[in-house]
Amino acid sequence: MTLTTVVKHRRRRAPRPILGAVSGALFGGFVALDLQQLAIWPLDDLSVFGLPLLGLAAGLALGLTRPLGRRTPPPVVRVILADQQMPPEASPPPEPPA
């Protein structure tokens, strides 16, 4: 009897560090503008430079870690016997005979 082992990995989504960094920096700048427009904090050095830099770092981290992406599932290991047919992936349990 021949045994074949198939290890099927679901690959993780690719990182998007550049999109994250650019979006984060722009987001920080717009938040600074929002705070100014809502009369909460004026456009000073802290908000004009600090918030975009903070956004850039946060966006880069989000793009690299992908916390909203699919988690890596454990590998699916399937052992196939050469003289047996592989069962379908989601077959319902057989009904008991009446």
Binding site: L19, S23, F27, A39, V48, L68
Partner: protein
């Protein structure tokens, strides 16, 4: 605008450098140099009158000065004055109608701004000060406000896309 180091009851934390004093009265409400924090700004409604007054301890002649809005590291001059001060005045005062002042703006503005004032005598800085000014206007009806809101939403969507990652081919 605010400068007064000889004012007898100078509020704590007032933004003043030099022997000047200044006050502003907006629709009957008096503003002093104490309005130097973002949480305690001079509020400008869309209608009404602003009365302003400034004094110097000694005669400044000739003199000039300016008011500038701070935007990050840059300062945009919005008003300036210069005179020989031949009458050797120690004070100046005036008033502005807020509705007509708003009408002169290219578009409606909202938000809070830091305004810095400088007064020079014989070419040398005599006094300076700053105050925060807040416009009583909703940011959702001004071009800059709408731009800011739209930009925030779009860039937030970009962050969500980045946080999801890209599907591999």
């Amino acid at each position: 605008m605010a400068c007064s180091s000889f004012a007898p009851a100078r509020p704590a934390g007032a933004a003043i450098n030099g022997p000047c004093a200044a006050t502003a009265e907006v629709n009957g409400k008096l503003y002093t140099p104490a309005h130097d924090t973002p949480g305690n700004p001079i509020r400008l409604p869309k209608r009404g009158t602003i009365l302003y007054q400034g004094t110097t301890r000694t005669v400044t002649s000739p003199h000039h000065g300016s008011l500038a809005v701070s935007v990050g590291p840059t300062r945009i001059t919005i008003y300036s004055w210069a005179s020989t001060n031949a009458k050797r005045k120690l004070s100046a005062a005036g008033h502005k109608d807020l509705a007509s002042t708003y009408a002169k703006l290219p578009f409606s503005i909202a938000g809070i701004y830091r305004i810095t004032g400088y007064h020079y005598s014989q070419g040398r800085l005599y006094c300076s000060g700053f105050a925060y000014v807040a416009f009583d206007q909703s940011p959702f009806v001004t071009p800059v406000g709408v731009f800011a809101e739209a930009g925030t939403v779009l860039t937030a969507a970009g962050l969500v896309l980045a946080a999801r990652g890209r599907a591999r081919r």
